[in-house]
Symmetry: C2
Subunit: 430 residues, 2 copies
């Protein structure tokens, strides 16, 4: 993966993205905007929905998917699970933003009806297409408007840029997310949508992986499951599943197979990079926070500890304010262990912020110099998302914790809590 750690400006970011947004052989993409009036709310101007299509030149038997565990899965997730179980050849994916088609009356039927019309235009069965939706929960899809639009979406399908696809699937994302890796004679390229999915946020995460490397369905499923566990599940931690989270992988099989390990590693690299992009693109995020925990009871315990720190609203707001309020770090840890009744000895705990030890031997190590250093450190890790709406760098606020309980370790990535987060979410649907 090339270095994408610094960007001069938004144009620079998009042009770097375009350079590496290689559409693998055997795929075509297109996007289109649809205007509609929702049934559930009176609006004076129509709402706009983006439709995106990923189509395979030839149906494939090599596809895989990982879906949300949420107890109220959306209609696209239910349909996707059925497709996966049926195992028939697959021709593509239709993605829409704006409405997630979750628990809306007749949601599955509506999606199938739209896919049938799209299938006709593509000359494939409707049930060879996956649906994917993100946006407002509970509202119905604007079925008629979508049915009207899909023929031209199918007709426009081409081998153009993947960046427009990555842009069209966004909701509150600040910028499009594309990662690609060369493998053997071909590529693995993936686009992702997700902003503020950090637990317990639950904004939907969608990721579509395209590859031209030949790979069996079973190997693709195994490689995808492993990649998701080490990437999207490592940033979002376990309990952050929206009703629609979906990671879908398709192979056109146009290029020679490579050893499984090489394929799986490349896929994991692509997913890990996208997962970090998603954190950085969280709603209103101004700092990405990476908590490394060591010396926990076991890895799961370490993950819970890291999560307790990175999800504490008081820690998140302090980081936003570039205020090194390290008391809150320690308090969030103490709350987690105290409540679980796991005896944690403060004497054995060390906490560092930006490589500076702030707590050791049961007491804080704070003075004016360290206050200045830590404030400056937090400022140096700040992203300014409002000025240019592009990621100026890929720096993180680094928190290291050792617990003295055992050998468990984990890294949990999260983000700060900002005015813009509240603003973005206070009336997301208007």
């Amino acid at each position: 993966m090339e270095d994408m750690s610094e960007y001069a400006d938004r144009h620079d970011y998009l042009s770097k993205l375009s350079d590496r947004a290689v559409l693998p052989d055997g795929f075509r993409v297109s996007t289109q905007t649809v205007s509609f009036f929702p049934a559930e709310r009176a609006v004076s101007l129509p709402l706009e929905m983006n439709l995106s299509l990923i189509a395979l030149d030839r149906p494939t038997e090599s596809y895989a998917a990982v879906f949300t565990r949420n107890a109220f899965p959306g209609a696209p997730v239910k349909i996707g699970r059925r497709r996966l179980a049926a195992g028939k050849p697959v021709s593509g994916v239709l993605i829409n933003n704006k409405i997630s088609n979750v628990c809306a009356p007749g949601g599955e039927e509506d999606a199938e009806e739209i896919l049938a019309v799209l299938g006709e235009s593509l000359g494939v069965p409707g049930d060879s297409l996956f649906p994917a939706s993100t946006g407002i929960i509970g509202w119905k899809l604007p079925k008629e408007a979508m049915k009207e639009a899909v023929p031209s979406l199918a007709a426009a399908c081409g081998t153009g840029t993947v960046v427009s696809l990555a842009q069209a699937i966004m909701t509150t994302d600040l910028f499009p997310k594309v990662r690609s890796a060369a493998v053997g004679d071909g590529f693995i390229t993936a686009v992702a949508k997700g902003a503020g999915m950090i637990e317990p946020n639950m904004a939907t995460m969608l990721c579509f992986v395209m590859t031209d490397i030949a790979v069996s369905r079973e190997e693709l499923q195994n490689a995808l499951a492993a990649a998701v566990e080490g990437s999207f599940n490592a940033i979002s931690v376990d309990s952050d599943q929206s009703t629609s989270d979906t990671v879908l992988a398709l192979s056109s099989g146009r290029k020679a197979a490579v050893p499984y390990e090489a394929f799986a590693n490349a896929l994991k690299g692509v997913c890990t990079a996208l997962a970090e992009d998603i954190v950085r693109n969280g709603e209103g995020v101004q700092h990405v926070i990476k908590v490394r925990v060591a010396g926990a009871v076991d890895d799961a315990d370490a993950k819970r500890a890291g999560k307790a720190v990175v999800n504490s609203p008081l820690v998140k707001t302090a980081v936003f304010g570039n205020d090194p309020n390290v008391g809150r770090l320690v308090s969030s840890l103490g709350d987690e262990y105290g409540n679980r009744g796991v005896p944690l000895d403060p004497q054995k705990v060390t906490v560092s912020l930006g490589q500076r030890v702030v707590f050791a031997n049961g007491a804080f190590a704070l003075d004016e110099e360290s206050e200045r250093y830590l404030s400056q450190y937090l400022k140096s890790r700040q992203i300014n998302p409002t000025a240019a709406r592009y990621p100026e760098h890929e720096k993180c606020v680094e928190i290291d914790i050792t617990l003295g309980l055992g050998n468990g370790a984990a890294t949990v990535t999260g983000a700060d809590l900002t005015y813009d987060y509240v603003k973005e979410n206070a009336d997301y649907r208007s």
Copy 2:
């Protein structure tokens, strides 16, 4: 308890508070402000700390306390636990805000030294006094300034209003919190401090209960533990324990004993009312949210479900925006059950907002009329804390959930997430 549900303005609130802020017999109170420069941060102007004293005319053997479970308890909590274990007669409590004296080097020694000076002024042993602190974690108490101030604090002690005590112990609280109940020939009066303690917020909660009713130490401890469980623990749910949370009860024993049940019920009523005051006084709170869950596996399961909803940042921000985004309610429930692997059948779930059913039989029931109704409902439950900084009413946003899993039930109270919450917490220490 008298009706305190509507207030014309701040003056009306304070005057109603004064009317009922009866200081039970045998107690005296005083407050004083201390200026100091902290050791840990360069400041151009001195910081101000309030000292508050609750003193008994005669030492008592009847006292009780409930402390935080946080694994990093503050020095006052450690000292308080020692006092409780030693069981010696108690003469009062010294409370300070601004600095919580948690894991600061020499924190226990400093607190004992200050109490010894105060004890001299009061003519009692220093170890007959409880300390209580709230504020910044990790910083040291301004010991010299405090030692200098306590003699005049002791001298000023009188039977004046409890409202000034309730005001002096505040940190980010919007207004003072006092509740009182007449019992037998005497009173139970309590003051509380806490703003935004809603899980996982962890702002410190302090509560001091004074009574002149004679009650044994054991009965007082039992009644207090039960009252805390049904009040402060019911609003803040289990995992929200700061490093300093303390509920302390003292009896002067000046009035005749009453039956245990009568005493315990009155104490629980006082604590429940204060707990609700604390939610309403949360940092930036504009809506109090009450989630009633029924049909859960058991009561603990119901509490977890209610907590998942009331602690979802997406639900909290939507309520702040008066946006009836009921999809987020359902998604937060589905996330909780999906992750725990408890099979929840969407067909059996009903969700109501403001007595209006929004989800039933596996689908949302949404239309323009219901959107309008729900928006209006949320607006009608909104508090405007910025205009007058007093609680204009005691209304809640009511969410009712039935799960169809069993007979478990619970009510969880929380609050919305607002700009002001972020602002308040982004640089709390400046």
